[in-house]
Amino acid sequence: MSTGLKVKIKSWNGVGFWKWMTNDTDCGICRLPFDGCCPDCRIPGDDCPIVSGQCRHQFHMHCILKWLQTQQMKQQCPMCRRDWQFSD
């Protein structure tokens, strides 16, 4: 359909919105929402990523790294206790 009207765009502002694709709303370690960041970070985003294990449990990367550092013997998922392996 054509109205014959002509519109000229002089300028525009783009607004983006992003969300982590997660199975759960909160990190099982710090219990803070994935849409925020871990307690050590201030700005959500690429600097405070979410990672998955092969068991499909997800955590703030900073949280799971801190946990794995305290485990010398066996590194297990905090949720299901399976051996922790980062998912690709």
């Binding site: 370690i29 710090c30 801190k66 946990w67």
Partner: protein, 278 residues
């Protein structure tokens, strides 16, 4: 504890006479006592730890667990008192059991330390996993073999695990004692726990008012609700057991059953509470 299999690393060190405190258990001492944690005094809790502690406390208040009450210390978020009432249909029913907990500065990456406070001043072993010196043997606390602490645990799950120790047949909590060997142990142990619950975890608690004030309020209210249970229990067991000696299959709890005396104490407490002079 320990038992015939001698596999458990936990040692009841303050009470060398405890079952199986054998020479086999010279393992590295596990720190468990929240009152003796100099290793934690040096370190301030991280701000992450404090955020997580607050969340855990908030969860207990917003999503209360049946029979579990907490009272955080007002000037120190890392310390709190917990009251667990003895679950229904167990020999612990109607009892008021007090625990002191302390969160580590690195919470939730390490488990809290817990001390059981309702021990009749170190004289009553209420459960194979609850020592007279206050040690709580639980794998997630790192004081027992089995699934260890993980940061997905929280205050609620710790308290629920402790509550689950107080079950219908605590005799079987002792490793290697999944079956009765002589046929009388479960009943005999339950009889002792039931009597000591009324004596130490009911009468002593209300007479001495030794629990934090917020928890005492819960104790007083619950006492009135349990009063019928106390009376019927005493009526039921006094004729059979009074003036006989306690026969603890583990040889730890000693004494003579005296439900008649407990009856007098409970009547007195009930009167005092009804006229709210307590």
């Amino acid at each position: 504890m320990a038992s015939s299999s001698k596999v458990t690393p936990a040692v009841d060190d303050n009470t060398p006479g405890e079952i199986g405190a054998t020479s086999a258990s010279i393992k590295e001492e596990i720190k468990w006592d929240p009152f003796q944690s100099p290793d934690w005094d040096l370190e301030k809790p991280t701000s992450d730890a404090i955020v997580r502690m607050k969340r855990d406390l908030h969860l207990v208040f917003s999503d209360p667990l049946p029979g579990i009450f907490i009272a955080p210390e007002s000037d120190d978020i890392t310390r709190l008192h917990a009251l667990i009432t003895g679950p229904f249909d167990t020999p612990y029913e109607g009892g008021f059991f007090h625990f002191m907990l302390r969160f580590p500065p690195s919470y939730p990456f390490h488990p809290p330390r817990v001390k059981f406070m309702t021990t009749g001043s170190g004289t009553v072993r209420f459960n194979p996993n609850l020592y007279r010196n206050g040690k709580v043997c639980l794998s997630i606390l790192g004081t027992w073999p089995g699934p260890q602490w993980a940061p997905a645990q929280n205050l609620s799950s710790v308290l629920m695990s402790i509550q689950s120790l107080m079950n219908e047949k605590p005799f079987h909590n002792e490793p290697g004692f999944h079956k009765e060997r002589l046929g009388w142990e479960v009943k005999s142990y339950n009889d002792i726990i039931r009597h000591e619950t009324l004596r130490v975890a009911v009468c002593d608690v209300l007479e001495r008012k030794s629990y934090p004030i917020e928890l005492m309020e819960v104790v007083k209210l619950s006492f009135m609700q349990f009063y019928e249970y106390y009376s019927s229990t005493i009526k039921k067991y006094a004729p059979e057991l009074d003036d006989t000696s306690m026969n603890d299959p583990f040889g730890i709890n000693k004494g003579t059953f005296n439900f008649k005396k407990l009856s007098q104490r409970i009547e007195k407490l009930q009167l005092a509470l009804s006229s709210s002079s307590l």
